[in-house]
């Protein structure tokens, strides 16, 4: 684990705010390669807002953020949220291909096959995504995790990635998060369940306004 202690993302005195409303003040975090940080806090403390700010969807108005040694927001992190980025008109394989294309990856048929097998959707390639259940639709988005390496996206921002997943899938996800971190990736994730593989924790309740 020589990659540990390599700083990836640093938040310094950052304010979590949604529009004009401040939720948390002075949030400080150091995320290195190999970190799996579990972001906790009661409902409404700003976990999702913090991830949206880091993803570049909401502006950061107060505080310093540096990524890979440079001041500024993370560039092209992976962002998994409640809105999955799945279009119901497209088939499972088309949706997954698009989501990977976004990161400059052109997956081969074998890649798609492997990723879908990993999430338990083998044989669903040509099925329209509108025919799938909520949990299955989530799995299309999560199938990306199988193919993305720290070389492509060194930082994963996961908002409740375990929602609507069965126990077996959660175990496979945790193993994948572990592998990714060992390969030098960093993860910042929220979850209301305990995350066994997390090696760092950030409690937003401590910073509430």
């Amino acid at each position: 684990m020589t990659v540990l202690d390599t700083p990836v993302l640093t938040l310094d005195e950052m304010m979590v705010q949604r529009g004009e409303i401040p939720l948390c003040e002075g949030v400080t975090l150091h995320l290195s390669a190999g970190s799996i940080c579990h972001l906790i806090g009661a409902n409404g403390t700003g976990k999702t807002t913090l991830l949206m700010q880091l993803a570049g969807l909401l502006p950061v108005l107060t505080g310093e953020i540096s990524y890979q040694g440079l001041s500024g927001l993370p560039i092209q992190p992976l962002y998994v949220s409640h809105q999955l980025g799945i279009h119901p008109n497209l088939t499972v394989a088309q949706n997954l291909t698009f989501l990977l294309n976004l990161y400059g990856i052109t997956p081969s048929a074998t890649d798609i096959d492997d990723a879908l097998t990993w999430v338990g959707l083998q044989g669903f390639e040509t099925i329209s995504s509108s025919h799938l259940s909520a949990g299955q639709t989530r799995r299309i988005t999560l199938a990306r995790l199988y193919l993305l390496t720290p070389a492509v996206t060194p930082l994963w921002l996961l908002d409740e990635p375990f929602t609507a997943l069965d126990v077996d899938m959660v175990a496979r996800m945790e193993a994948r998060l572990c592998d990714f971190a060992q390969a030098g990736g960093s993860i910042l994730m929220t979850s209301h369940q305990a995350v066994g593989v997390a090696n760092q924790m950030l409690d937003l309740s401590d910073y509430m306004v």
Partner: protein
């Protein structure tokens, strides 16, 4: 649409002194965005067929209601087809960006550093093909329905082709502005229609000029110029507006 041989070619440069790994991100390309938007349209035919059916219904009902007096029908034909074209265009735009915001596609594009103006342009071009592009062809039905001459019908088609891109861009701007509102779709025609009226007046005016033997070409050229400018400028304006959708 061939597969571009794009593979992961992310370069990792490790700076030995500071021990910081810097990755160079690669974004999605034009063909991949185009293919995705094309598939979305192609596999969701019901959504874009409704506005076309509306167009057909209006231009078919009109002669039935007015009666079979050829002189009257010929006089009303051009305006009736244009109003039907405008209504079907306005009706079709509520699905332009709202679904992409709701299902998270827009967020994924922003996070993955994709070129938002490019995506907007591709989406609007494909939307135009499947709406006004087909409407322009269907407008030739004015020959049997309104007893227009073929010459007038071709000019009418040309006026729809030159004017509708500008109409679509104006509607798209209105649609992106109302995106974060709950009932934004209702506001889109209210914002866009006043700006679209001049296009309607110019376009029908051009066809009338040709019909009376005068030269309407400058007006068509003016419409085309407006369309070209709006296609070049509006995607950037819309992209900026779309990025603010989460601020509500």
């Amino acid at each position: 649409m061939t597969d571009s041989p794009m593979q992961v070619s992310t370069t990792i440069t490790a700076n030995k002194k500071s021990n910081i790994i810097v990755t160079t991100p690669r974004s999605i390309g034009f063909m991949q965005l185009w293919r995705r938007e094309w598939q979305v349209k192609q596999q969701g035919a019901v959504q874009w067929l409704y506005p076309l059916v509306l167009f057909l219904v209006i231009i078919t009902l009109f002669p039935l209601a007015v009666g079979s007096e050829p002189a009257l029908l010929q006089r009303l034909g051009v305006s009736a087809v244009w109003i039907a074209a405008l209504l079907s265009l306005v009706m079709g735009v509520d699905g332009l960006f709202k679904p992409a915001l709701d299902n998270g596609t827009l967020a994924q594009l922003v996070v993955a550093n994709a070129s938002l103006p490019l995506w907007v342009l591709i989406r609007l071009v494909i939307h135009w093909i499947f709406s006004s592009g087909i409407v322009a062809i269907l407008s030739l039905l004015a020959v049997p329905l309104f007893q227009l001459s073929w010459f007038e019908a071709w000019i009418l088609m040309a006026s729809i082709v030159t004017g509708s891109p500008m109409l679509l861009m104006l509607s798209a701007v209105a649609s992106s502005l109302t995106l974060s509102l709950k009932n934004g779709a209702v506001l889109v025609p209210l914002i866009a229609l006043p700006m679209q009226l001049p296009v309607l007046i110019f376009a029908t005016g051009a066809v009338d000029l040709f019909a009376t033997g005068l030269n309407g070409l400058p007006i068509l050229a003016l419409l085309l110029a407006g369309s070209i400018i709006s296609v070049l400028v509006m995607p950037w304006v819309i992209a900026v507006t779309l990025k603010m959708s989460w601020l509500n």
